[in-house]
Amino acid sequence: MLGEILNPYYLQVAAFIMINIILAISIYITLSSGQLSLGSAGFMGIGAYTSALLTIHFELPIIVGILAGAVVAGIIGILIGIPALRLQGVYLAIATLGFGEVVRIIFVNWESVTRGSIGLSGIPHMGRELLRFFKDIGFDPDMIGLKNNQFIYLLVLLILVLINIILIWFFTRQNKSRIGRAFAAIKMDEKAAEAMGLNITYYKVLSFAQGAVLAGFAGALYAHVLAYISPADFAYHRAIEILIFSVFGGSEVILGAVFGATFLTLLPEALRFISEYRYMIYGAILVLMMAFRPQGIIDASVLNWFKKNLKSKRGTNHGTRINKNN
C-alpha cells in the first residue's frame, strides 16, 4: 500500500521543493539586511560544480563534497561581497547579476574541467550511494515493501526535509538574535543603524555570505539529487526564479520564502496537463500578485492573524455557546 502512494515522481518533485526552499531562504537572508542580490544562481553553480568535481575526480564522500561546495561559495561570497556591498539597491542587483553570468560563462568555457556546455554527468547520486550503504549492512528495501527507486527517493526527501527543518529553526533563531536585529535595523534605515554604532559593512557582508553559503549548499544538493548538471542550470533565469520564490511568498518573513518556493515549484507541475499554457498562467499569477499584493502572500500581519485565530479557537467555542443562550 505504502508502495503505491510513494510514486517516485512525486517524491522527486518534493525533493526539488526542499532544494528550492533552501534557495529561497538564501535570498531571504540577503534581503533581510536590505540588499537585493541576483548572484544566487552563480553561488548555486559554484556549490554544485565544486561538489560534483570533488566527488567525481577525488572520490570524496558526498557529504564532504556538499560541505566543500557550501564553503567555497561562502568564501567567494565574502570576496565578492566586500567590494560589491558599496553599491546599493538596483546597482548591487546589476553587479551581482553580472557576477552570476561570469560564473556561468566560466563553466561554459573552462572545458578541460567543466566539460563546457555539455555539463557534468555521472555525479554520485545521494540516494544510490545511501542504498548501497544500506545493502552493505544487510538491509533491503523489499523488507519494508518498497522498490529500490522508491526507497532512494524517499530517503533523499527525508534527508532534505531534515536539513530544511534545521535551517528554518536556525534562521528563525537568528532573526530574534542580535544579528537579526542588526539586519533589520540596516534594512529599515542604514543611516540610523550606523549612528547607533552598528558596523554596517560587517553585517552586510555577513548576510551576503550567509546567502552565498546557502545557495552553494543548495546547489551541491541539487547536483547529487539530479546526478547531472550543466551551465544552463545556473543561468540568469534561475536567479530570477529564486528571487521570485521569496518575493512572491513574502520577503519579510522566512515562512514567505518557504511558501513561495513550495507553491511556485508545485504550480508548473500541477498545470502540466495544459502543457504549453502553464507558463502563461504562471506569469499571469505573478503579474496579478505584483499588482495586488506587492509585499508577497505572507507578511507579518498574516502571521499575526493566524496566531490570533489559533489562540482564540478555544475562546470562540466558548463565545458561540453564550450566543446560543442569548
Binding site: R181, D189, K191
Partner: protein
C-alpha cells in the same frame, strides 16, 4: 575633550569645509550655528566618521580619531543623533531603545532603559508603539534617548529642532539642558540660533565652510553682527515685548 583642527572636507571636487577648527570642553554645551549650506552638518558628519576629511585632525580625549567609523567612535564614547531623526520605523519604541545599547555588554541595559523612560514619560506611555507612528517631536525624543543609552561622554546633536513646532522645540532645548546637567558634554548643530545660544556655553558661527565668529554664548547673543545676521532684530523685539 574634543578638538577639531583645520579639517577640510570635500564632496567630490567641491570643497565644503575650508579649514574648520573648534574645541569642546568637558561638561559644556557647544553650539555650531549658521545658515543653510554653511557646512554645519558636514562638520558634524566629519567628526562622527560619516565623511573623511582630506586635511586636518579630529582628536577626542587626546586621541586621534580622524576617519574612524561611527561604531568605533561609539565605543570610545561619542554618540550621534543624525539630522532628520533616524528612527527605526517598524520597531517599537522599546526595541529602538534596545538598539541604542547595541554595543554594550553589561547587565545594566534594562535598568538604564527604564531610567531613560522615566526621563522621557512620553516614551514610557508608548513603549510598544512602532517608531514610525510617533509624531516628529516624539521621534526626536526617541532618537536622543536612544543615543543616551550608549552612555556617551560626548553627544553630537544634528539640528534636533528641525521641522518641529515651537512648543516642542522648547521641550527639546529643556532636554538638552538636562543632559548637560547630568554630566554629558554636547556638541549641538542648530539653525535656531537664539535658543541654541541660550543653552550653550560657547558658540561657533559658520559661513560657507569657515568659522566666522566664535565666543562665549552670552557674548554672541549680544554681538550686534550676530543679532543682525542670525537672530534678527525683529525677533529680539518680539522677545522683549513678550518678556
Amino acid at each position: 575633550m574634543l578638538k577639531v583642527s583645520g579639517i577640510e572636507t570635500y564632496y567630490g571636487k567641491i570643497q565644503a569645509l575650508k579649514g574648520i577648527s573648534l574645541e569642546v570642553n568637558e561638561g559644556q554645551v557647544v553650539t555650531l550655528l549658521g545658515a543653510n549650506g554653511a557646512g554645519k552638518t558636514t562638520t558634524m558628519k566629519t567628526i562622527s566618521g560619516l565623511l573623511k576629511p582630506k586635511l586636518g585632525k579630529v582628536e577626542f580625549l587626546g586621541e586621534d580619531i580622524t576617519g574612524l567609523r561611527p561604531d568605533q567612535l561609539l565605543r570610545k564614547g561619542i554618540a550621534l543623533v543624525p539630522e532628520g531623526r533616524a528612527i527605526l520605523s517598524s520597531m517599537s519604541v522599546y526595541e529602538n531603545l534596545e538598539m541604542g545599547a547595541y554595543h554594550r555588554k553589561d547587565n545594566e541595559i534594562k535598568k538604564d532603559i527604564e531610567s531613560v523612560m522615566a526621563q522621557f514619560p512620553i516614551l514610557e506611555e508608548r513603549r510598544e508603539q512602532l517608531g514610525g507612528t510617533l509624531s516628529g517631536g516624539q521621534q526626536q525624543m526617541l532618537a536622543i534617548a536612544r543615543a543616551l543609552l550608549s552612555k556617551p561622554k560626548l553627544l553630537l546633536l544634528d539640528e534636533p529642532s528641525m521641522g518641529l513646532a515651537p512648543l516642542i522645540v522648547a521641550d527639546i532645548f529643556k532636554l538638552i539642558r538636562e543632559i548637560k546637567n547630568n554630566g554629558t558634554t554636547v556638541l549641538l548643530v542648530e539653525q535656531n540660533a537664539k535658543q541654541a545660544l541660550k543653552v550653550a556655553d560657547y558658540g561657533y558661527v559658520m559661513e560657507t565652510g569657515k568659522v566666522i565668529f566664535n565666543g562665549e554664548a552670552k557674548d554672541l547673543l549680544e554681538d550686534p553682527r550676530i543679532v543682525e545676521a542670525y537672530l534678527g532684530k525683529r525677533a529680539s523685539t518680539v522677545e522683549s515685548v513678550r518678556s
